[in-house]
């Protein structure tokens, strides 16, 4: 499970942004405002993958 949450967050950002960096930035900001900071899950975070829809 190491890094699984971070990977899922990154994958959602990539899927949503379709390579558009502005959208990727917005998706990241949205995560952080919802209390999930991708920068704080380097290896084995504690967010349940089900929370990353």
């Amino acid at each position: 499970m190491a890094g699984r949450e971070k990977h899922l967050m990154g994958s959602k950002g990539t899927r949503r942004s379709k390579g558009n960096p502005a959208v990727a930035k917005v998706v990241k900001a949205k995560f952080v405002l919802e209390g999930i900071n991708p920068d704080e899950y380097p290896a084995g975070g504690c967010v349940h993958p089900a929370n990353i829809q």
């Binding site: 942004s17 558009n20 900001a29 405002l33 209390g35």
Partner: protein, 367 residues
């Protein structure tokens, strides 16, 4: 884009006055912001009747902004002409507490536009949100909007001139409370967003360790009573801590940019905020900087990016307005927008990606 304002006494006179000033045969849309001094149903109805072929929407305020001025007891309006806007669609959320509020509103857009909201090109479309400023539902709405579309929605929470009794949003001649109006615009000209706040982040941080999101309260920071932890970190007594709220709110720092969470009051050693703070959220103590100077800089930077600025919709936090008033600088702030057709209002909260405080969010059109 044309702007106008009216200081007439009755809704009927105001609508007539604005219609005369605009002198446009058939504007595509009118957005207006009205002091809560005016009867909400009457002002919405009068504006709708004055512009029968336009999409007409707006909200009540805690002060109005128009090119070059900050006003009270007025109505300000912007007219969007056909050459500026390709399409504009409105969707009214009549109950912001409904679980399906945004889904239902977006279903209306999807039917009108003929595409899923998730498929819409965020460089071609932009959304506006005007929401009841006393509903405490802004975060949920913005979270859901962000889940369902890549189109940026920005806007403000309606005000009632600091009475904190009832705020209204207006659409198609009606006035609604506990409601929101969403507008989906497809401009024919370039547009961009400004989000500006006059704070720098200090290295001092608070970690929210116990919260009550529904009531926007932080019960504990750093494992201590929230008020005690905040007072300690700013070097004040709990009793004096509220004196620091305006100049030292807290902020969530994302890519170096603060998303401000403003404390409202201390209640039973807990801290009540104007927007919610999530459990385990790490917040920096912010230090205020110069609102006028920072706003000038934000506009200058956007002008450098976009070329000439054609028009601005400005959703400016009431706490910024109160700070400007206390410093006698409302005229200076108004003058920043003297050269660009601008309307806006003093809000009870600002929206851009999420719900924020002590911020100005602006939709900027290219000139």
């Amino acid at each position: 884009m044309k702007t106008a304002y009216s200081l007439k006494e009755t809704p009927e006179e105001i609508a007539q006055d604005l219609q005369t000033q605009f002198s446009i045969d058939s504007p595509k849309a009118i957005v207006f912001f009205a002091s809560s001094a005016f009867d909400p149903e009457a002002i919405s109805s009068s504006m709708y009747k004055a512009f029968p072929n336009a999409t007409v929407f707006g909200c009540s305020t805690a002060g109005e902004i128009v090119s070059g001025k900050m006003l009270k007891k007025s109505v300000v309006a912007m007219a969007f002409e056909d050459q500026i806007i390709d399409t504009i669609n409105l969707s009214i959320i009549k109950d912001v507490k409904s679980d399906k509020a945004v889904e239902d509103a977006f279903a209306v857009f999807e039917k009108q536009v003929g595409k899923s909201m998730l498929e819409l090109d965020p460089t071609a479309y932009v959304g506006l949100i005007l929401v009841d400023g006393l509903s405490m539902k802004e975060e949920e709405l913005m979270d859901k909007i962000g889940d369902l579309t890549n189109v940026t929605f920005l806007g403000g929470s309606a005000g009632d001139d600091l009475q904190f009794k009832q705020t209204h949003v207006f659409a198609a001649g009606q006035a609604y409370s506990n409601a929101a109006v969403l507008a989906l615009l497809k401009p024919k000209i370039g547009f961009d967003i400004i989000k500006t706040q006059s704070f720098s982040a200090s290295p001092r941080e608070l970690l929210a360790t116990r919260v009550d999101e529904q009531s926007r309260q932080v019960l504990e920071f750093n494992g201590k009573d929230a008020a005690a932890a905040y007072a300690e970190i700013i070097g004040a007594s709990v009793e004096d801590a509220p004196k620091h709220f305006m100049k030292n709110p807290v902020g969530l720092i994302i890519d170096g940019e603060p998303y401000v969470r403003s404390p409202q009051q201390i209640k039973d050693n807990h801290m009540v905020f104007y927007c919610n703070v999530k459990d385990q959220m790490k917040l920096s103590i912010l230090e205020s900087t110069d609102i006028v100077k920072d706003t000038q800089t934000a506009l200058a930077e956007k002008k450098a990016e976009m070329g000439k600025l054609g028009a601005i919709l400005n959703f400016n936090c009431i706490l910024r307005t109160l700070e400007l008033e206390s410093e006698g600088r409302t005229e200076d702030y108004g003058k920043i927008f003297e050269e660009v057709p601008t309307v806006g209002f003093s809000t009870y909260g600002e929206q851009c990606i999420g719900h924020v405080n002590q911020t100005a969010t602006m939709l900027v059109f290219k000139g």
